[in-house]
Amino acid sequence: MNLTDIFFIIFSLIAFSSALLVVFIQDLFKSALMLVVTFISVGGIFFLLNAEFLGVIQILIYAGGIAIIIIFGVLMTKDMATANTSNIFMFINGQICLLFFVLLSYFLINEEWFLLDLVNSSYAEQAKNLFSNTTDHLATLLLKNWVIAFEFSSVLLLAVIIGSLAIVKDKNE
């Protein structure tokens, strides 16, 4: 067991337990904070998976951006903040989701994945090079291969800004 494994175990335990806390804590404010913890530990896992760019993005956007917006939303509706109860389906939901998790993970573990070979394959050298510096290659991919998706996601973000403004605006003003 090397250092990466240990870090992975630590991070995934944190992520897992804080995710559980997000769901089960009654105080909405605290559960939003737990969400930030989950995001950060998932970001840590991204670093372990040689995805440093995504790790940074994760911490910047999720932990820094989205979580803040959510906390903002919690504060806007603050008289509701403690009313974070579960509905009546809780037990049946719990059973089904547990079943879903068990089956899905059983299946994912037993599946024969066609794995990357970084030792003796024809692309081993290039792949090692790739994982040493993913950000460069990712930039190429985004702006070259998926340029259409990239550009149209900007259209999407524009549309969403207009949309959320239109939702919040009063229609008779």
Partner: protein
């Protein structure tokens, strides 16, 4: 990337630019009619561009993420024609949007950009972005009348869409994990060339997860549950747009996904069962409704079931017959649904009430809209000489060639029973026993023009469909 590739997404660019321009003009110009005309001109030029694109040869562009073929151009044209009709006809309705009517125009256009991109996409990431680009602006538009029901519809749509898109994305990731790629053609190639024995379950799970994300758009069992609620609450033009354009491009993606999936296994039986369930759920649900929009929601579910019959016969007779049937049905359904929703909207423009009782005696106040409503409902039942009949005939013909006789029989019986609830509405139109609700006689010329166009579409496709079918067949064979 070659800059010349941009010609293949020209109409998307035109419409997106028009949407932004509309918004800016809305800020700086007070005259709504001018803004509206500019946006209509923009859509029209996008449409003309798309028609021109029909004659450009097929190719893979943008590193295989876009497959520009005539089929995708066909869907572009369908979406833009729908958008043009929807926006033209909603001039008088837009009073319910208040000051937000410019945002309404703009967001509808942004959503249609996604709809145009989706049938052309050849890659799951692009397809996913397009799906979200379709859904998210519509979430905003649905809530825009700021009435209790429309806000609720918007929230339900958003949450349901989020859950199903999460599953869709999980499916994409799993399929990517199996094949190492997100490209449709690469995945199909790997599926047809790999010994699947050890990987059969991951492909099954991935494809069914993806089916969920797409099935949400088109409303098949068990992903239909948002439809009645959202159709009831959302503004009528948006519902018409959702039920036509969004559903059509959903089917375009479903066709693509199943062209891949049939490389892996024979899905005929599964799809047949889902089709049968969808038909029965839609028709049974519609029987008890007393809100016409909700009724049309359930009827839309039933029609998704009919269309699935066409997809069920993909594997057995070559895919072409099934595809022609599905696409022709979508074309007929587009005009029929525009006619149905807009004639309902025309009648209840002043009351904004869509309960069936509120239509009693409507014939005496608004003859033209009532006749259009009657013809469109007859088309939904599937009677000649309306286009609904030929659409069903093509589907059933394809299914019979694939020896799915039981499914055809089921579909025919379903369409007969569906006549019950459609006729219930038609009957109410001629009701005069109850005291007639006095409608404010508002003549809306733009709405009537749209109704005439839709009616012509319904009748021409029903009486002389040959040119359209020829076009479809050539576009599919290329």
């Amino acid at each position: 990337m070659d800059v010349a590739d941009l010609i293949y997404i020209g109409s998307e660019i035109i419409v997106a630019v028009t949407a932004t321009l509309t918004l800016l003009m809305g800020i700086f110009s007070g005259r709504y009619i001018i803004v509206k005309i500019v946006s209509l001109l923009g859509i029209l030029s996008g449409l003309i561009y798309a028609v021109g694109l029909w004659f450009v040869s097929t190719s893979y562009v943008f590193y295989n993420t876009i497959h520009a073929n005539q089929l995708s151009v066909f869907f572009k044209i369908l979406v833009l024609v729908t958008l043009l009709l929807v926006i033209t006809g909603s001039y008088d309705y837009s009073k319910y949007f208040g000051k937000l009517r410019v945002e309404y125009l703009s967001l509808m256009m942004y959503s249609s950009v996604g709809m145009m991109l989706l049938p052309a996409s050849n890659d799951f990431i692009t397809a996913y972005i397009s799906l979200e680009l379709i859904a998210l602006p519509l979430v905003a538009v649905i809530a825009m009348t700021k009435e209790e029901y429309s806000i609720e519809a918007s929230l339900k749509f958003l949450i349901f869409s989020a859950i199903s898109s999460a599953f869709l994305l999980y499916g994409i990731v799993l399929l990517y994990g199996f094949s190492g790629s997100t490209n449709f053609e690469v995945i199909a190639h790997i599926l047809s060339n790999t010994n699947l024995d050890s990987n059969i379950s991951i492909v099954l799970i991935a494809i069914l997860f993806i089916l969920g994300g797409v099935g949400f758009k088109v409303g098949i069992v068990p992903f239909y549950m948002w439809i009645p609620d959202v159709y009831e609450g959302a503004p009528t033009p948006v519902v018409a747009f959702l039920s036509i354009a969004s559903k059509s491009v959903g089917f375009a993606l479903l066709i693509k996904v199943f062209l891949i999936a049939y490389e892996f296994a024979d899905w005929t039986f599964t799809i047949s069962i889902i089709a049968a369930l969808t038909m029965i759920v839609g028709n049974a649900g519609a029987l008890l409704q007393d809100n016409t929009k909700r009724l049309l929601g359930y009827s839309g579910i039933a029609h998704a079931g009919y269309i699935l019959i066409g997809i069920a016969c993909f594997s057995q007779i070559g895919t072409s017959t099934g595809q022609v049937a599905v696409i022709f049905y979508l074309l007929t359904y587009a005009f029929t649904n525009i006619a149905a929703f807009y004639s309902l909207m025309n009648i209840s423009l002043s009351t904004n009430s869509y309960s069936i009782q509120s239509y009693s005696g409507a014939f005496f106040n608004n003859k033209f809209a009532s006749i259009v409503l009657m013809i469109s409902f007859l088309s939904l039942i599937g009677l000649p000489p309306t286009s609904g009949f030929l659409g069903k005939l093509y589907l059933f013909n394809a299914a019979i060639k694939s020896e799915l006789i039981w499914l055809v029989l089921f579909g025919v019986i379903n369409s007969v029973f569906s006549a019950y609830y459609y006729l219930k509405v038609i009957k109410t139109l001629f009701d005069s026993d109850i005291e007639i609700i006095k409608y404010q006689t508002s003549r809306s010329y733009s709405l009537n023009i749209v109704l005439i166009c839709a009616l012509l579409g319904v009748l021409i496709l029903g009486v002389y469909p040959d040119p359209f079918l020829r076009l479809l067949e050539t576009s599919l064979s290329s």
